[in-house]
């Protein structure tokens, strides 16, 4: 029982605070509703792609068209810097950089670079995979095209080779036939007997017989010549007184004497030699006859061989032509195959290669998400700290005195803000320093711009927290409301799921989500080192929103102050009125008693018999309900009492009095 009492007490405390009850009951429902609404119906992310190509070739155009057909928002850029700059400012999700001379190449692949922003952690991989998938489709198509080309070339080479084979076969026949003919020619030639005997040379014999006379004639003439020569020499000898010449002449005369002797000797043996020669000639003549016979055969054989060789020559010429054709075909096949071999295997398999490149230099996820996380801290701290401080201040006992001092309300508001601002700024700087030290991230680059964004963020979320504080009655209510608002802003941001994947309504609302705007700005400043010149519109909008919030706070604070004094006075005035009684009301006579208020009425009704009650409350009229409506001015209660049942009337009255008493007790 004790435990139940504690639980019951806690529940009562929670639910009797309107904003706490509201937040507990409706807060989660609201968050679920908002988040569900945000996360449903979004479908695929609406990716905005920028493309840049040094030359917009048909292949580049083909890929751009394919991306457009797939539902990507494609923007074509005239230069790379602009394309990359748009990623940094958040205008693009990725920039596709095509290479120079982007065409399908047989001897290599084209590398297409996807430049992405890795700080969009939850989106970047989806973009990469989505675009890569699309490019893979295109790559497959191009690869298939290239493979078809290869196959066509191989088919051509095959056709050429087959024709070459056919030519080879024909050449083979020609060569075989030629070989046969040559063999036959050789046989014919081999068949010729070239061994010739010269035994029958009658004509030569006659001539050799005539040679004997000639020899005699030659002996006479030779001797005469020699004698003339000796005499000439003798005469020369007689006139020459040179010893050496005389010696030479004597030797020559000796030689002439020797020659004369030999000629006479030869002339003596000439008839015998002629006879011998005749014998030889006779043999030669006989051999000649045989040779003539054989040569006759040889001529026939030669004629036959010539015919055959002529045929072989024709065949060979045909074979030579076939070989030329074959060589040409093989050369073509070789060239085709050479071209095919020249194709890059990589290029064939992957005619387009993709490369992922980060637009930002930082590569670790902590650096990417740091601006979002820092803004998250600022948002929740700003909301909670300010709402808590405002609730503490306005519900503190000192609120009355603060309101009555000679200090303007704006001054109090500003100084409340300054207090929390300083706390948050110091916290942020501490967080930045610690993070820079431990993470080693260059968080202080472009620090001037980052600091201004942080200041705007602190201011804006502080003002939002202050509004929550003024609208909340209790600290727990303010805390829950701050957490709820922070959660909603967080859910409708890029940190959990990419905004692009959410509902279109979120797409419209999110540019006005301060967390989204500020975190993107801070990211651009911290990671891309962009200045305000890139985002003047957003900064202007934020400053304007901050001013509007401040004016709103002033209005709410003034309203709260006015209601504060009115509430105090009303509460005190209410104490004068007994629950259920109105000033100057005319009493009601009921059951013989004078009823002045609802307590009296309840007492009298309780004491009344059913018959007495039914005598008073008839079908036609209900004086009790009429009195409550007219005199006590409790129209709602009057309606509830418009019943002919005494029990129903007592229950309604009892319930009403309990409610009123509780309300007064709470005051």
């Amino acid at each position: 029982m004790k435990a139940w009492s504690v639980v019951a007490k806690n529940l009562k405390l929670l639910f009797r605070s309107k904003e706490t009850a509201f937040t507990i009951v409706f807060g989660p429902l609201l968050i679920i509703l908002l988040v569900s609404a945000a996360y449903t119906g979004g479908g695929d992310a609406k990716v905005h792609v920028g493309v840049y190509a040094p030359e917009y070739t048909p292949l580049a155009d083909q890929l751009i068209d394919a991306l457009k057909e797939k539902g990507y928002l494609v923007s074509v850029f005239a230069n790379e810097t602009n394309c990359l700059g748009r990623i940094e400012t958040g205008g693009l999700h990725t920039c596709i950089l095509f290479p120079e001379d982007f065409r399908v190449k047989e001897n290599g692949s084209n590398t297409v670079t996807f430049v992405v922003d890795y700080s969009r952690v939850n989106l970047v991989h989806e973009i990469i995979s989505g675009l890569s998938a699309e490019f893979n489709v295109q790559k497959s198509e191009l690869s298939a095209g290239l493979a078809t080309t290869v196959l066509e070339r191989v088919a051509v080479a095959q056709r050429e080779v087959r024709e070459g084979i056919a030519l080879g076969n024909a050449l083979d026949n020609d060569v075989a036939m030629m070989s046969e003919q040559l063999v036959a020619g050789r046989s014919s030639i081999n068949a010729v007997d070239v061994n010739v005997s010269f035994n029958d040379l009658k004509e030569i014999r006659g001539r050799v017989t005539g040679l004997a006379g000639l020899v005699t004639e030659m002996k006479t003439e030779s001797l005469e010549g020699l004698e003339a020569a000796r005499e000439a020499l003798q005469e020369v000898k007689d006139v020459v007184d040179d010893n050496e010449t005389e010696e030479l002449i004597r030797e020559t005369l000796v030689l002439l004497e020797n020659a004369t002797s030999e000629i006479q000797e030869i002339a003596k043996r000439a008839p015998e030699s002629v006879t011998l020669v005749n014998y030889v000639i006779d043999d030669a003549a006989a051999a000649m006859d045989a040779v003539k016979t054989r040569f006759g055969l040889l001529v026939n054989a030669s004629r036959n061989a010539d015919e055959r060789i002529a045929a072989s020559q024709a065949r060979l010429e045909q074979a030579a032509r076939s070989l030329t054709t074959l060589r040409g075909k093989l050369a073509h096949a070789d060239a085709v195959l050479q071209e095919t071999l020249g194709m890059s295997a990589t290029g064939l398999a992957s005619p387009i290669e993709t490369r992922i490149q980060a637009v930002n230099a930082e590569q670790d996820n902590v650096s990417f998400t740091y601006p979002y996380i820092l803004l998250l801290v600022i948002m929740f701290l700003g909301l909670m700290l300010n709402s808590t401080l405002i609730v503490m201040d306005k519900t503190s006992t000192a609120a009355f005195r603060n309101f009555t001092t000679a200090t303007r309300d704006e001054y109090h508001i500003l100084l409340s803000f300054v207090t929390t601002f300083l706390i948050l700024l110091v916290q942020c700087l501490a967080i930045l320093c610690i993070s820079a030290f431990f993470l080693g991230a260059p968080l202080f680059t472009n620090f001037g711009v980052s600091l201004i964004i942080i200041i705007i963020a602190i201011t804006l979320f502080s003002f939002l927290g202050m509004i929550i504080g003024y609208l909340s009655g209790t600290q727990e209510g303010a805390m829950i409301a701050s957490l709820s608002l922070g959660s909603v802003l967080l859910f409708i941001s890029n940190l959990v799921l990419p905004l692009e994947a959410m509902n279109w309504v979120v797409g419209i609302v999110s540019p006005y989500n301060p967390y989204v705007v500020l975190s993107e700005l801070l990211k651009q400043s911290m990671l891309f080192e962009l200045g305000f010149a890139y985002v003047p519109g957003k900064v202007g909008l934020l400053v304007l929103a901050t001013l509007v919030l401040f004016l709103l706070i002033l209005a709410i604070q003034k309203s709260f102050k006015a209601s504060y004094f009115q509430r105090r006075s009303k509460d005190l005035a209410a104490e004068a009125f007994t629950p259920g009684a109105a000033r100057n009301s005319k009493p009601l006579l009921l059951g013989g008693r004078e009823v002045k208020d609802l307590f009296d009425l309840l007492e009298v009704l309780d004491a009344m018999t059913r018959a007495d009650f039914e005598a008073v409350v008839t079908g036609a009229e209900n004086p009790i309900a009429t009195w409550v409506k007219r005199e006590l001015r409790e129209k709602r209660l009057g309606r509830k009492l418009s019943t002919r049942s005494k029990e129903v009337m007592i229950l309604a009255l009892d319930k009403h009095l309990k409610t009123v008493t509780k309300k007064l007790a709470k005051r």
Binding site: T397, F400, Q566, S569, A576, F577, K586, V616, E621
Partner: protein
């Protein structure tokens, strides 16, 4: 010297929905006086004080504050027109002390002094004076939450006075305090008033206002039914005096009928006392003593209580009840709609 009125309240009316809290309240507050406002709970005292200093806008009528210069020249303005200037002129202590419980006594006073743009030296001086005046010197460095109830009230008044305003408004400053603490508070109020501060206060403890206030206003059903000095009010509303008699053995039943024939307007038994109210106390005393002697009663005690503000209050509010009772009850089944002055 002519009277200087600093507040001029003219025909002020205020309603919260159908409830008329104030109706045509008109009076002026004199510089340097202690003005007490009395009335039943919810009679509109707090609402009236809030309207006087411009916290609430009246539905009808206006409140004018006159700021007097060094030469005595007055500059009047509507309290709603110049709230910051007006706030320099008054200190307000409500029935719920208003300060930061987690600041010390001195820190609270210094903080609120700064809210009035006082210079550091003035702050120091004012705080030093007030901690002595309020009897908080020993506790000036104590956290406010650790103070006793009476000291909290004194701190609250000190915070209201820290800018040395010419007017101090105290709304039920002794509510929930025991008699000793109440007396301490009234003592402080007197001391403040002696410094020339005009004090406007409301309280339930009527008899304590009797000796404190220069004038007392009576709020009844949102109407300022009367405003006068305590003596004049007492004379106006109650001429009866209360005679209390105690005798032994105390057989008062036999006495009562006989006393009713004398000039006693009301006779009742209260414990061992017989309480007799009469407008002719001397004659009644004589009759009572004679009757007691005749009845053989031994006189133990006899007292004559002069009328006080409680009596005035009771008289006024008894009249209200009587007026209420005199109203004709509604006829069953056809209750008449009563004429209302609230216009609703």
């Amino acid at each position: 010297m002519a009277k200087r009125f600093i507040f001029d309240i003219r025909d002020v009316s205020k309603s919260f929905k159908q409830n008329k809290v104030l109706q045509g309240v008109t009076f002026r507050i004199e510089q340097g006086e202690i003005l007490g406002l009395i009335g039943a709970s919810g009679s509109g005292k707090t609402t009236l004080l809030n309207i006087i200093v411009g916290f609430l806008r009246p539905d009808r009528g206006a409140v004018t504050f006159t700021l007097y210069g060094a030469r005595g020249e007055g500059r009047a303005f509507n309290v709603l027109d110049k709230p910051l200037l007006l706030s320099q002129q008054y200190g307000f202590a409500s029935q719920h002390p208003s300060f930061y419980e987690k600041l010390t006594v001195r820190e609270n006073m210094e903080y609120f002094a700064r809210m009035y743009d006082l210079k550091p030296k003035a702050i120091r001086t004012n705080v030093d004076i007030l901690v002595r005046l309020m009897g908080l010197k020993a506790s000036q460095h104590v956290l406010s939450k650790d103070l006793s109830g009476g000291m909290k009230r004194r701190l609250d008044i000190a915070c209201a006075m820290v800018h040395n305003p010419p007017v101090l408004i105290l709304d039920e400053p002794t509510a929930d305090l025991d008699p000793v603490l109440r007396m301490q508070i009234w003592e402080v109020v007197k001391r403040i008033n002696l410094r020339g501060t005009t004090v406007i206060l409301s309280s339930h403890h009527l008899n304590e206002l009797d000796t404190l206030c220069n004038r007392i206003g009576i709020l009844k059903d949102g109407v300022l039914s009367d405003l006068d000095t305590p003596d004049k009010l007492k004379l106006k509303y109650t001429k009866e005096q209360e005679l209390m008699v105690e005798s032994y053995p105390g057989a008062y039943d036999a006495l009562i009928p006989k006393l009713k024939r004398a000039n006693a307007t009301k006779i009742a038994r209260q414990g061992t006392y017989l309480v007799i109210r009469t407008e002719e106390p001397q004659r009644v005393i004589k009759d009572v003593l004679a009757l007691l002697e005749r009845q053989g009663e031994q006189l133990l005690d006899i007292r004559l209580n002069k009328p006080n503000l409680d009596n005035v209050f009771v008289t006024i509010f008894a009249q209200r009840e009587q007026e209420h009772d005199r109203r004709e009850p509604g006829v069953l089944g056809a209750p008449e709609r009563q004429e209302r002055g609230d216009g609703s």
